[in-house]
């Protein structure tokens, strides 16, 4: 009983990843991430994040992402690695190598299979179906078809009671995008009214589709700022409709606010230009983020560091303005090569800029140059970096192109660098 309770707790916690989570006793969880991985950048990132967080909480976990619940169940328990991610359509291939025990079969069936020499799932796939049916009963083929996606399998997700949620049931099942859009409009309208009463704005919305065949589909959207703009939320949801498969039809839809944050009334109908501008931008940022995926939109903020590559960090696009910029006295290129590309350079003396260098088999003769700007390694980061020195030069070639070159080392102490030259950017 205790284990069941803790599994339930864990499945509630997993709702952060996707709206559909089902406990799979005694020791498993199903998470339906269809239409949700875009918020976590991609499936691999989502899987890795889930495993690290579980580990931090003291759980040893194995994970698989696959096309069907059956395949994921099998691969998580019998796969080669603790984090198996099977690309769409590759499920059967990945399953074939697994032992028959991966198919969730009762003990007598497994024993019988072993006695007859069926060891891997591949051997069952290859065998004629009718004799299998007669010999082992319906359960074997049933499980096989579920794992291969020939037969649908629904998980029984926990549906937490959300304070702000709205469900609509339909007399006739719906299956067209137009119909869904109408329902979304109605649902978001009721939801935003509730949010308005509570003084809240939605940060995350889950839309649940209850299909006629008993299975459940869901989609999830996130916003960069709390919002109760019905039109905006409806548009975000409608843009993700393509990830929903209505199957034989949808008989009910449920919209839940899974994360809400306080939203003052003033912010909604602000009259001054600044506030309305930022709210406007939030709508654009949300749409782009839902299209491109998480972490693809950002601003860059200055970081105090001598090493050019480290002078910036990403901040969310709508983070408060920092009013900081980089020191104007240090000339910096507009394009930075990362990592810096090695070049062959000819410099008469250690302290002087090169007279020519070869990059991509092109010989570039330097006409004007400025420098050096000496940059020291940051000893507090890595031991090996502490004595390192880079001498940066801005150079212009005969055609007027401007390059940012540096030489490793100060030319006196060999520990500061081996005097090799690198191209780091373009002005």
């Amino acid at each position: 009983l205790d284990e069941a309770a803790s599994l339930h707790q864990l499945s509630l916690w997993c709702l952060r990843y996707a709206p559909l989570v089902a406990p799979d006793p005694p020791d498993g969880l199903w998470i339906d991430i269809t239409g949700c991985a875009h918020l976590a950048n991609e499936e691999a990132a989502l899987g890795a994040d889930l495993l690290t967080r579980l580990e931090q909480r003291g759980f040893a976990a194995r994970l698989a992402i696959a096309d069907t619940p059956g395949a994921a169940h099998a691969l998580a328990r019998h796969g080669a690695e603790p984090c198996m991610i099977v690309p769409a359509g590759k499920g059967p291939e990945a399953l074939a190598r697994l032992p028959v025990a991966a198919l969730r079969l009762p003990e007598p069936v497994l024993e019988a299979l072993h006695r007859l020499g069926f060891e891997t799932i591949a051997s069952i796939i290859a065998a004629p179906r009718a004799p299998l049916m007669r010999r082992f009963g319906a359960i074997l083929l049933h499980r096989l078809d579920q794992a291969l996606g020939r037969m649908p399998e629904s998980i029984n997700p926990i549906l937490p009671e959300m304070a702000i949620a709205k469900r609509l049931t339909f007399i006739e099942p719906l299956s067209t995008a137009e119909a869904f859009k109408l329902v979304i409009t109605r649902l978001t309208r009721s939801i935003t009214l509730m949010l308005d009463k509570a003084g809240l704005g939605a940060r995350r919305l889950d839309l649940i589709f209850e299909r006629v065949d008993g299975t459940i589909q869901a989609l999830r959207i996130g916003t960069s700022r709390p919002s109760r703009d019905a039109a905006h939320l409806a548009r975000l949801l409608a843009e993700r409709l393509e990830s929903v498969d209505p199957g034989p039809g949808v008989e009910a839809m449920r919209l839940m606010v899974s994360i809400a944050e306080p939203l003052a009334y003033a912010q909604v109908d602000a009259l001054d230009e600044v506030a309305s501008e930022t709210i406007d931008l939030a709508a654009l940022i949300d749409r782009l983020e839902n299209r491109l995926g998480g972490n693809r939109l950002y601003r860059l903020a200055p970081v105090e560091s001598d090493v050019p590559e480290r002078t910036m960090r990403r901040v969310p696009p709508l983070a408060p303005h920092l009013s900081q910029t980089w020191p104007a006295t240090l000339p910096r290129p507009v394009r930075l090569l990362s990592p810096p590309q090695p070049v062959m350079a000819l410099a008469p003396l250690p302290d002087q800029p090169p007279v020519a260098f070869t990059w991509r088999r092109m010989r570039i003769r330097v006409r004007h140059a400025d420098g050096p700007e000496r940059i020291h390694g940051e000893w507090w980061r890595r031991d090996a970096e502490s004595p390192a020195v880079r001498d940066y030069f801005r150079v212009e070639d005969e055609q007027g192109r401007r390059f940012w070159l540096f030489r490793r080392g100060d030319g006196v102490d060999p520990a500061t660098g081996d005097l090799s030259w690198f191209l780091h950017g373009f002005f």
Binding site: E277, A283, L284, R291, R299, T311, R332, V334, E396, G425
Partner: protein, 285 residues
């Protein structure tokens, strides 16, 4: 008094030109006030360089439309000068700038040096998906959004008539200025010469800069960079080319000293020719 009336005549002429240009673009006469719009960006951004502004039909860079900026061989791939040219223009507008990239080599400190403050710069990584179409899609979304001042898109692939027309329409609808920054590996790539709907098409290339101290070329150091600014195509105007000093910390170009500025006679000829094009646009390509 004579000078004053000449000034007034010039102002009237500019005003007329603006109205004509607006008619040509299919807009309405007058200071286009679209109802229901809270923010109104100005219609033209002057370069504040006489030779350039006088050449352009609206007296500067037309805003709320699409412009194309490319680099010239051999530095096409990274196009640093072209990027700085765009950054300088975007910096001189008011409001946030969306910069859509496919490749992560943009260095924000360099953009800040052209006047584009990091607080105003929002970067969108569109990735290589869908054969470069994603950049165009994100640009279009951005251009439709009146909260932005400008959208810069680094276009690695093609920018054909249909795609550029979509961007142009989006820019008009949103009132946002768009810059398609072309990034191809080779300067003679045929995709660069394809026709598109951009209102102006520019090509920016580096030129040898002048020595720091004019009569002492051997003194080490780097002066202000110098660019060849080529206007390859301009709706309602004709192509031209100038030698300019690179953008400064406020994003402004400079007139290169001792550069081959067109003579007054050539300018007058150009003026006449432009008026002729106005009257008989069909007579010239």
């Amino acid at each position: 008094m004579g000078a004053e009336s000449a000034l007034k005549a010039a102002a009237d002429l500019t005003d007329l030109r603006l109205r004509i240009a607006r008619l040509e673009r299919g807009g309405s006469i007058g200071w286009a006030g679209r109802a229901g719009q809270t923010r109104q960006h100005p219609a033209v951004l002057p370069f504040t360089i006489d030779a350039l502004d006088r050449h352009l039909p609206e007296g500067g860079l037309s805003l709320r439309c699409l412009h194309e900026v490319a680099a010239a061989a051999p530095e096409v791939e990274h196009g640093a000068a072209a990027s700085l040219f765009v950054a300088g223009l975007a910096a001189r507008l008011r409001g946030p700038v969306l910069w859509v990239i496919e490749q992560r080599d943009l260095f924000a400190p360099g953009l800040a040096a052209a006047g584009l403050h990091p607080d105003r710069l929002i970067i969108a990584e569109a990735g290589r998906g869908e054969a470069g179409k994603l950049v165009l899609l994100v640009m279009e979304e951005g251009l439709r959004h009146r909260g932005l001042a400008a959208v810069v898109g680094e276009v690695h692939g093609r920018l054909g008539l249909t795609a550029s027309r979509r961007l142009q329409l989006a820019a008009e609808a949103g009132g946002v200025t768009g810059f398609a920054l072309r990034r191809v590996a080779r300067g003679d790539d045929p995709v660069l010469s394809e026709a598109n709907a951009a209102v102006t098409r520019w090509r920016i290339s580096a030129l040898p800069s002048a020595p720091v101290i004019p009569h002492a070329p051997d003194v080490p150091g780097l002066g202000r960079a110098r660019w060849q600014v080529e206007l390859l195509r301009c709706r309602g105007g004709e192509p031209s080319s100038w030698i300019m000093e690179a953008v400064d910390a406020a994003g402004r170009l400079g007139m290169a000293e001792a550069a081959s500025a067109p003579s007054t006679a050539r300018l007058q000829h150009r003026e006449r020719r432009r008026d002729r094009i106005r009257q008989h646009p069909w007579a010239v390509g």
